[in-house]
Symmetry: C2
Subunit: 190 residues, 2 copies
Amino acid sequence: MNFLQERIEQDGTVLSGHILKVNSFLNHAVDPQLMAAIGKAFADQFKDQHPTKVLTIESGGIAPALMTAFELGVPLIYCKKAKPSTMNDPISTEVFSFTKQKTYTMCMERPSMTSEDRILFIDDFLANGQAFKGIEDLISQTGATLVGCGFCIEKAFQSGRSYILAKGYPLYSLAPIAKLEAGKITWLEE
Amino acid sequence: MNFLQERIEQDGTVLSGHILKVNSFLNHAVDPQLMAAIGKAFADQFKDQHPTKVLTIESGGIAPALMTAFELGVPLIYCKKAKPSTMNDPISTEVFSFTKQKTYTMCMERPSMTSEDRILFIDDFLANGQAFKGIEDLISQTGATLVGCGFCIEKAFQSGRSYILAKGYPLYSLAPIAKLEAGKITWLEE
């Protein structure tokens, strides 16, 4: 087990319906030193892909992605889940959230990314990959290249993992979960 | 002018209706090194208040607040603008957003803050103080103490500033704006 898996076992809670609650240290209350360690781990894993920007989605992805971008010395961009009134020339795509059971518009400003960019996508969770497909669509609209995908926690028993691997994108999850049931986490052995 | 004011003059855009657009480096695309400098400035300003937690609101406040919490070595909490399905025992308050012209429910989980806590509130913008009043209400529901308020950018010509000062909370804005018109920023002299 690595540092994040240990922290999840210590402070996370498994709820019914395959839900892992980590909002006491990851995505509501946040441990900044843990985020710095996560950022360093992602930067180490992906630095040889030479990313020029880190991309994430508000709000859960911002903390780990900011620390990754800080370590790599590149800008962070976070996609919005609704179009802000001050956003000119937006690129957008529709994403269905299984968690919230509704569709939202994921968007970013076109000038924030060019066809020269090498994008590292970082997020707090990977599950069925719906948000990832939105990211893939936004990146394709800019002509940039997706060079890696890093997730803090991955529900490897859902379909996001196989989708990303089938497309050939480098994938790295710090805490990949093989099974989540009866209050117990079984980690994926890699 | 400090480093943030210089960056705003260099890369910000003044739109009509007193709107300052900073989403190429602050709240959409984000410069992580700038955020680290902001975090250090807030930590230096408020460390003598001995904050035990940094509090902010998703999404614009997360990056500067995370870096402030990292510098201070304390946890960050970010309030949500809607109640997540996994949030137990929420504390909530209603906030009217002038920017979006609608009311939203700001909430946090009760166990994330206790009456022993000394709270430093950090946000990207202060304007009319509606979000701040929501924060003040949430903190009062926990019995914690608000020991300081730090804003990256402050529209000092709107009513948030006088509200906070009248309540006696320590206030520090890195880029306080006295006037915003005809594409030009006039900084508040303090």
